[in-house]
Subunit: 347 residues, 2 copies
């Protein structure tokens, strides 16, 4: 199986009418730049001239990685569960930015190497296993586990869609997951692995070289697969695989899908390889400072809204970009037209 | 006289403590990128580790330009007053974005070629004259008028500061004011005028060439002055001169000063030439698509937060960037520290 998702291409019959409405607003043609693109895309997704954003959500998937044991991260693995607790206690950057913009935040244990008490109700318990296998030695996940990730992420996204949400972004937490993302990128874009590797949470020059050495050896030993599903199983992580499933499901539900930084884009890459149509539903929010992300965005021919030199994951790029999505919707609904405001048009 | 503003350099004795607080937040060092820079700057301006944003304002100055009669704009001059009415009626882009972010919007008639009824209370009546002189033939403004612009803009900004506002951005409206801004830039940066000229509200290739021809001839006939005050009088506009005074006054009041696009940056350029210390109080919000702005920002060695390919003026770049300023303040005040959250630090 590849995937069972059924993603509808977006109908374009309203495009002319939407563009006419945008052009009729009291501003020079095209003067709202990227916001006009976003408005057009959202109107097309929603098949309307009067778009709306309902119950925005950010879903953060957390998981641990066997590759962390190769010393590829600047932080110890326990930071994954500690940060999950920080999310649940409201202390992380993503909490602050979601609160600022009235975004509902949900945290998913996709496979953290820690036993969270089951009575923590704010946590969605989707654990596949306590961390992936070390992909330096064996496949990070089995195909069955990968499929299970898709299923469980899908069911969360479906529930959220049913609750009335029509705009959703995804974040992640997982020590060593820039290594997974770099491997996915290298394999699926057919790019040299060293071009896909960055400093993650802040490696020194020496530690970065070690990460490059480790991951280059993996390719030398284990080779590449160009099948998105096999590649995902071989080098991915539980949080990344759940991200892939979540992105696909959100597009199936015709939601506006907000894509965060490097890790989320690597999940998008896998999802797009499976179902290219998802691109029409996605808005890329932030170009990470992580080396590799710029190249990956270039490969995907997408241009994120923001470049704030952040490199934090968690969905923070989505959350800080969200007011721009709102601005696009607001100007469509609230700005006067040349006609209604009695403003003269071009000479 | 140059200016009477007294701008205090920002004390740096808190810098280490501020940076320590930023670094202690639960995120990799530097991972919030530009937001960390903004947080540091705001904390320094406010001399605190717990910054706050109070009663944010956007002030839009509107004025007309004699140079419009040379056919340098894609829109007729009457659009200036019509857009002022649109601002007052709530229908323009700046209204929508200010409303979205709870920014108080004030509109100033700095010199529009129209008689607004004096009973329109939402309009601040600061008219110097109904449009500047045509700077192709004579100085756009007298030195006296320019000084009057400073005085009247200052008194508005002082009143707003006294009302409790500590963060203020400035926008403008004025058909043909990209021509004024290009002349100011060319004169004060000593750059060829054609490098400073763009399409404004959307000139065709032919009309752009006409604009370049007209403005190049002006320099050939009238020459340059490197005195900021003389240059401002010669080529500026009433709304631009009021912007200059407003920026200087806001810095004197130790407010956070938000700088918009091309026109606002040209006003900043004049203000900085008079009082370089203002730079410490200013945050550049958006790189306009207007040709010239990128070069001007490069000249000033500043890097705006956003590049959304907008070119609308009105202060829209300030308004859409405002939530990022808020995010910087919120993370400083609300994020947990490694210590408080019990998260392990770097290995």
């Amino acid at each position: 199986m590849e995937t069972n998702f059924s993603i509808t291409p977006i109908a374009t019959q309203l495009s002319t009418a939407i563009q006419r409405k945008i052009n009729g607003k009291t501003k020079p043609l095209g003067a709202l730049g990227r916001l006009e693109e976003v408005a057009l895309q959202i109107c097309q997704i929603q098949q309307t001239l009067s778009p709306s954003l309902q119950r925005p959500h950010v879903l953060v998937f957390a998981g641990d990685h066997g590759i962390a044991h190769e010393g590829v991260s600047a932080y110890p693995q326990e930071v994954t569960w500690q940060m999950v607790m920080n999310f649940l206690n409201g202390g992380a950057a993503i909490n602050v930015f979601c609160k600022q913009h009235n975004i509902e935040l949900r945290v998913v244990d996709a496979g953290v190497n820690y036993d969270f008490p089951l009575d923590i109700k704010q946590l969605i318990h989707n654990k596949i296993q306590k961390g992936t296998a070390n992909f330096a030695r064996e496949s990070a996940m089995s195909l069955q586990q990968t499929e299970k990730c898709f299923e469980s992420a899908s069911s969360i996204v479906k529930r959220i869609a049913e609750s009335g949400c029509n705009v959703i972004g995804f974040g992640e937490m997982g020590i060593a997951n820039t290594s997974s993302a770099a491997m996915l990128m290298s394999a699926l874009c057919n790019l040299p692995v060293e071009k896909c590797i960055g400093r993650g949470t802040g490696l020194s020059d020496k530690a970065l070289q070690h990460k490059i050495d480790v991951l280059s050896k993996v390719f030398a030993n284990r080779g590449r697969s160009y099948s998105p599903m096999n590649t995902l199983a071989m080098y991915g992580g539980f949080e990344i695989a759940q991200l892939v499933g979540a992105i696909l499901q959100a597009a199936e539900c015709r939601m506006i899908v907000l894509i965060d930084g490097f890790i989320a884009t690597s999940a998008y890459l896998v999802a797009q390889a499976m179902q290219p149509t998802i691109k029409e539903y996605c808005i890329f929010c932030h170009q990470s400072q992580e080396q590799g992300h710029q190249l990956l965005l270039h490969y995907l021919k997408v241009n994120p809204l923001l470049n704030l030199e952040m490199r934090l994951g968690e969905g923070t790029g989505v959350a800080v970009a969200y007011p721009l999505i709102q601005s696009a919707v607001h100007f469509m609904n609230e700005m006067a037209s040349f006609e209604s405001a009695g403003v003269s048009t071009k000479v």
